[in-house]
């Protein structure tokens, strides 16, 4: 049975052999860091998307023509309000505005400030807003990405939009969104719904699409069928479809990453195996002494395996803490671009700190098992050397 002194001895040995372990330790830390960052980031984003989805409309209605969605007539929304189970029908106005100087797109969202805002994100953005003052003049709220771009072209207080009819429309910058909300609002501009119609070129009787809300999830299938039958040129998007699409995207991106990562791990295992197979004569001598003194092969194996485990565990701790810092304090620069490469402007967001135990244990298992697998045979080889020869 190993007692406390055994671990004391183990640490002394580790300290003494630190030069030998340092390269493995650094590579391991790096590997754990990369794995943990990706997993933590994708998990945090998934959470973010889940909460975003919670406040999304249950159905979104679009009018289709020639396979493309076109503006939806406002009359439809009155029609849908009649359907049993639908609590609210909200025509929405939004769209892309092409910012010529930089060849980029902004997303303009028009809001009917007298209507109740269902979207929690929009709600968050416009709380503490002095409605009266905001609506007095043509004003807008903009995201950080937009702000940065406008600054670049010296539009510090206002911007002059061009409508499709070549009319100029000067809109003042009223406020910039708080930073925490920027996953969605980075490239976003919020303004009054009528102003948005004008800039995007949508007529008074039309909207971009219609959002429908249905408090009872069990009714969703029934309502879906009713909606589809209403018009021939209708497209109905369900919330669950969006959720699935997101999930698939993440699982796909995550899965691709995992497979790449496994290749890295296998290579790393090969390196480990080679590294620990090289038993220097000084190491051999140490083992020979221990064996002569009365350590069994089993004891030496335990020593060697624990030694490697300590290195692996230390690297895991360090790598994980670094990843945590990288993702949640530094907001994962560079890495985040891989995950939301579909946005128009560079993202600038701060993620919620969320880690659960099962995730950490999964990471741990996924890294420690290959590591230990690779060092098992070298540990055994070192332990069974002939003590007499080793001491010579």
């Amino acid at each position: 049975m190993q007692n406390k002194l055994f671990y004391n001895f183990l640490f002394l040995l580790l300290l003494k052999h630190r030069i030998k372990h340092i390269s493995i330790f650094i590579i391991s830390t790096l590997i754990v860091f990369i794995l943990s960052s990706v997993v933590l980031l994708s998990n945090a984003l998934q959470e973010e998307i889940n909460t975003t989805l919670d406040s999304q409309a249950d159905f979104v209605i679009q009018k289709m023509r020639a396979g493309k969605s076109v503006n939806t007539p406002l009359s439809w929304s009155d029609e849908f309000r009649e359907i049993e189970g639908i609590s609210q029908a909200q025509p929405r106005v939004y769209g892309q505005y092409f910012f010529k100087p930089n060849a980029e797109h902004f997303t303009i969202v028009g809001i009917d400030f007298f209507d109740e805002q269902k979207s929690k994100n929009l709600q968050k953005l416009i709380t503490n807003l002095d409605m009266k003052k905001f609506l007095e003049k043509p004003n807008m709220l903009i995201g950080h990405g937009v702000k940065a771009l406008l600054d670049k072209y010296y539009f510090f207080d206002y911007y002059v939009f061009k409508t499709p009819h070549q009319k100029k429309r000067k809109v003042n910058i009223y406020q910039i969104f708080p930073k925490e909300s920027s996953l969605l609002s980075n490239d976003m501009i919020i303004m009054d719904i009528d102003l948005a119609r004008e800039i995007l070129g949508i007529s008074e009787e039309q909207s971009t699409d219609i959002a429908l809300y249905n408090p009872n999830e069990l009714e969703a299938e029934n309502i879906y069928v009713k909606l589809v039958l209403k018009h021939a040129d209708i497209r109905v998007i369900q919330k669950s479809d969006i959720a699935k699409a997101y999930k698939r995207l993440f699982n796909y991106k995550g899965g691709l990453f995992l497979i790449l990562y496994m290749i890295v791990l296998l290579t790393f295992m090969m390196i480990l195996y080679q590294r620990y197979s090289m038993v220097q004569s000084s190491d051999k001598k140490e083992i020979g002494i221990l064996r002569a003194l009365g350590w069994s092969i089993k004891d030496v194996i335990i020593l060697k395996v624990t030694e490697s485990f300590m290195v692996a565990f230390g690297a895991f701790l360090l790598g994980f803490i670094l990843a945590f810092f990288f993702v949640f304090v530094l907001d994962a620069p560079l890495l985040s671009n891989i995950f939301y490469g579909y946005a128009n402007l560079p993202m600038d967001i701060s993620l919620h700190r969320s880690i659960d135990f099962s995730l950490v244990s999964l990471l741990f298992l996924f890294y420690i098992l290959p590591f230990m697998t690779a060092v098992l045979i070298p540990s055994w080889k070192a332990s069974v050397i002939d003590p007499l020869e080793a001491m010579r």
Partner: protein, 222 residues
């Protein structure tokens, strides 16, 4: 205490480079006896000592130490036997240079279920007998040759062994330290330990002990 019967040891058996290091050796060492194994380099002294200490296994013959047959023990039991009953002292000290004297002495006990107190008592007792207590926290690499030897003696004594095996213990010592070592051996022998010393150092001739000569793996009859 130690009974060897018809021991043969062939290294690299059934290979072209096979070499018979011991030939038909029979030897009895009584309880509390002090035995000196004399022979030139390559005569097989270390091999014989290792067989007595169950560090290697004979190709044939029987080895009984303290009533226990050790010629074919599985590793777990052979190691346990060494840990319980044997003390080894080597020519080149074989200490862990980066560890302190006390840590070196304690290494053997790390795998046993002892309380920490019992462990500390054993370690300090052993250092006391070997006259090295005053350096117990010094790293071994800072010690002189004689002190290293005393540290090695303390390590060999920490499990209160019945048998102490020494392989050329004075080869790396000057004559003053060799004399000191012989004095310690006498003290240990007086404590009732069975001691076997493999050497070709004439300094041991001053010692009152049975001497056995070995040559090319054969014990010489006197």
């Amino acid at each position: 205490m130690i009974q060897l019967e018809n021991i043969n040891k062939i290294y690299n058996e059934s290979r072209p480079n096979s070499f018979q290091a011991l030939k038909d050796i029979s030897l009895h060492v009584g309880k509390g006896e002090l035995l000196i194994l004399k022979g030139v380099s390559g005569s097989g002294k270390s091999t014989l000592l290792s067989i007595m200490g169950s560090l290697i296994k004979p190709s044939s013959g029987s080895v009984i130490v303290d009533g226990e047959s050790i010629a074919k023990l599985p590793d777990l039991h052979a190691s346990n036997f060494r840990a319980q009953k044997l003390g080894f002292i080597f020519q080149s000290f074989n200490l862990f240079e980066a560890l302190s004297v006390a840590d070196n002495v304690a290494i053997l006990l790390t795998n046993q279920s002892l309380t920490l107190e019992a462990l500390h008592v054993s370690v300090s007792d052993a250092m006391e007998i070997a006259h090295i207590s005053h350096k117990k926290d010094t790293e071994v690499r800072l010690l002189s040759g004689g002190e290293k030897q005393r540290c090695a003696i303390a390590r060999a004594l920490v499990n209160s062994p019945k048998v102490i095996l020494c392989d050329e213990p004075t080869a790396n010592l000057d004559s003053i330290n060799s004399q000191k070592f012989i004095a310690t051996i006498k003290e240990l022998n007086a404590l009732g330990k069975t001691i076997v010393i493999a050497t070709h150092d004439p300094i041991f001739e001053t010692l009152d002990a049975r001497v056995v000569n070995i040559e090319n793996g054969i014990l010489l009859k006197r």
